[in-house]
């Protein structure tokens, strides 16, 4: 029995992707936890940007909103959303974490609606917020999400945020900034990247306790496989200690 839960595993795995000296645009919850964890472990000079205008805060605790006053606590700047979005568009933001009700094999995300009628949706979600903006501009977009065959869908009911669109060169041809797109998808079962030519989702490592079959059985489309599939490194005692004691002491995100 592992001494960590799947949310802790996803946050730790996500935080390891954030390299020292890089910049990351985050939302509330797990993305913020991953960025804070990276800052408190291997990447103290990670630049954290909140879309609403908070630049490089010393987060005293998890924000409830990407615009609340914790996002400017001992920050270098409190600016505008237009200003942060312009920095994203200039190519100054390396990483972001997004999520959604559905994700397809090209990493396209749905956070808008379920059902065919746009004016009278079966289920209405918040919409893009800043997700489409982050997904369009950030060099490397990542997703942390539990995986099942409904969420990992053959086709999204609505593409809110661009992944690699229809695969191949379709993202570059759409007019979105070149060299951007989904980078890692981190689930409770595995870690995926995108095969460089087809831009289809590909298994690169499998989490402790799961098999290749589990990963495919809980996915609504056919996954590609890396030549050598690795085992995801479990969280270290140090990472877990920092996450539990400093990042999320009230266990809002990592749960009980």
């Amino acid at each position: 029995m592992a001494d960590y839960n799947t949310m802790e595993l996803m946050i730790v795995t996500g935080s390891r992707e954030l390299i020292p000296g890089a910049s990351v645009a985050v939302g509330t919850g797990a993305p913020c936890a991953a960025a804070m964890l990276a800052q408190k472990t291997h990447a103290p000079d990670l630049l954290i940007i909140f879309e609403a205008g908070g630049i490089d805060p010393r987060l005293p605790e998890m924000p409830i909103s990407v615009g609340d006053s914790r996002t400017i606590w001992k920050a270098c700047q409190a600016t505008s959303m237009t200003d942060t979005m312009e920095a994203f568009c200039r190519g100054m933001v390396d990483y972001t974490f997004l999520g959604g009700a559905q994700i397809d094999m090209y990493g396209n995300l749905n956070s808008t609606r379920i059902g065919p009628d746009h004016q009278k949706p079966k289920v209405r979600f918040p919409g893009s917020g800043g997700a489409n903006d982050f997904g369009s501009f950030c060099w490397n977009m990542m997703v942390m999400t539990p995986q099942d065959s409904k969420r990992f869908a053959e086709k999204c009911d609505f593409i809110t945020t661009p992944g690699y669109l229809k695969g191949g060169n379709s993202r570059d041809e759409s007019g979105l900034p070149k060299g951007t797109g989904p980078y890692r998808i981190i689930t409770n079962m595995a870690v995926f990247d995108f095969e460089p030519k087809s831009k289809r989702m590909r298994i690169i490592s499998i989490n402790p306790g799961y098999s290749e079959k589990d990963v495919q059985d809980n996915c609504g489309f056919e996954l590609l496989k890396a030549k050598k599939i690795k085992d995801t490194h479990p969280p270290t005692q140090k990472e877990l200690a920092v996450l539990r004691e400093e990042v999320d002491p009230y266990r809002y995100v990592i749960g009980r």
């Binding site: 400017i72 237009t82 949706p121 903006d133």
Partner: protein, 330 residues
């Protein structure tokens, strides 16, 4: 300019720059007192059928007192900019104030979850929607603030967000690069909550400004609610701190704790207990009706609302929470 692709969403406001100029030609430039009660400001400047925008970011420096007043006065059939809107959206949905909606972020309260009542309203088919993103609506306000009819930006292309928006994809005349053209958005009326303002409407904000500085310039009519009134001499002592100038402003209302139960940076933190109560009570439409009567319809002012939820003692506790101090621990 050739249009390569366009969305099917309606653009609810007129993007014509000369029509906007014709309006701004008539707007007062005079340095006169604009002090009035919030009740009078909403009655005077918020009209059924017109287009409304709300400043701040969801439950952060958002003019909540004004949102309550708009609902209390029963404003209807408005267009609304659902731009980073969370608790404000929840309140305006409760009053069914709008039936035309530009969407960037709606229904949710970020880490707090989704509003059951706002969701029911959005799934009812009663609201006509156009789909955008946070940056799209910021850019639309920026175009309006610049006095031009659109700005080109590089998001949404290739997605359904574009298909259900009112944006159009065009080519750069210099490079051939594709851009999504965002039509200018000139709201009929907006409300922005600030830390300090003088009687003429010169404003100071000690916080992130989100899209408020462009919103102030873009709005045909602008109501300012402020935590504190300050003398014009103080404004003139340090004019570099003025972020919204008086000539953008039509009404100045002193509303201390005007962003409660949301956050006001350096003043008070959000009342999470009360926000959770909102979310929970919305699950039962009958109970929610009684809740709205108690908290909005049968309430005279924002002070009465605050008294219902712990009054000054609560405000001081929220100040401690905001500043991470313990000075007022009983």
């Amino acid at each position: 300019m050739d249009v390569i692709e366009e969305g099917i969403g309606r653009v609810f406001t007129d993007p014509d720059a000369d029509n906007a100029r014709a309006f701004f030609k008539t707007k007062s430039r005079s340095l006169t007192s604009k002090l009035m009660s919030l009740k009078d400001a909403v009655a005077k400047f918020v009209h059924d059928g017109e287009y409304l925008a709300i400043g701040g970011f969801g439950a952060n420096r958002t003019p909540i007192a004004a949102c309550h007043e708009i609902v209390r006065q029963g404003k209807k059939n408005m267009g609304f900019a659902g731009h980073t809107s969370t608790h404000d959206f929840q309140i305006l949905s409760a009053g069914k104030v709008f039936d035309k909606l530009d969407i960037a972020y709606i229904v949710g309260l970020e880490a707090r979850g989704l509003s059951p009542n706002a969701r029911r309203y959005m799934e009812s088919g009663e609201v006509e929607v156009s789909e955008w993103t946070n940056y799209c609506l910021s850019a639309r306000l920026k175009a309006a603030a610049m006095g031009i009819s659109f700005v080109p930006i590089r998001n949404v292309m290739g997605t359904d967000t574009l298909k259900f928006s009112g944006a159009k994809v065009i080519k750069c005349p210099f490079t051939g690069q594709k851009y999504a053209a965002m039509p200018a958005l000139w709201p009929d009326v907006s409300v922005i909550h600030v830390h300090e303002a003088d009687m003429y409407g010169n404003c100071r904000i000690r916080d992130i400004t989100v899209s408020d500085l462009d919103l102030a310039k873009a709005s045909k009519h602008l109501i300012i609610t402020c935590e504190r009134l300050i003398p014009n001499e103080e404004i003139r002592r340090d004019p570099s701190r003025t972020v919204i100038p008086f000539f953008c402003v039509d009404a100045v209302c002193e509303v201390p704790y005007g962003a409660y139960p949301g956050v006001m940076a350096y003043e008070y933190f959000s009342d999470e207990e009360h926000l959770r109560e909102w979310m929970a009570v919305e699950k039962d439409p009958e109970a929610f009706k009684a809740f709205l009567d108690k908290n909005i319809y049968n309430v005279e002012s924002h002070f009465d609302y605050i008294r219902l939820h712990g009054g000054m003692e609560k405000m001081l506790a929220l100040r401690d929470k905001e500043l991470m101090t313990t000075s007022n621990e009983a």
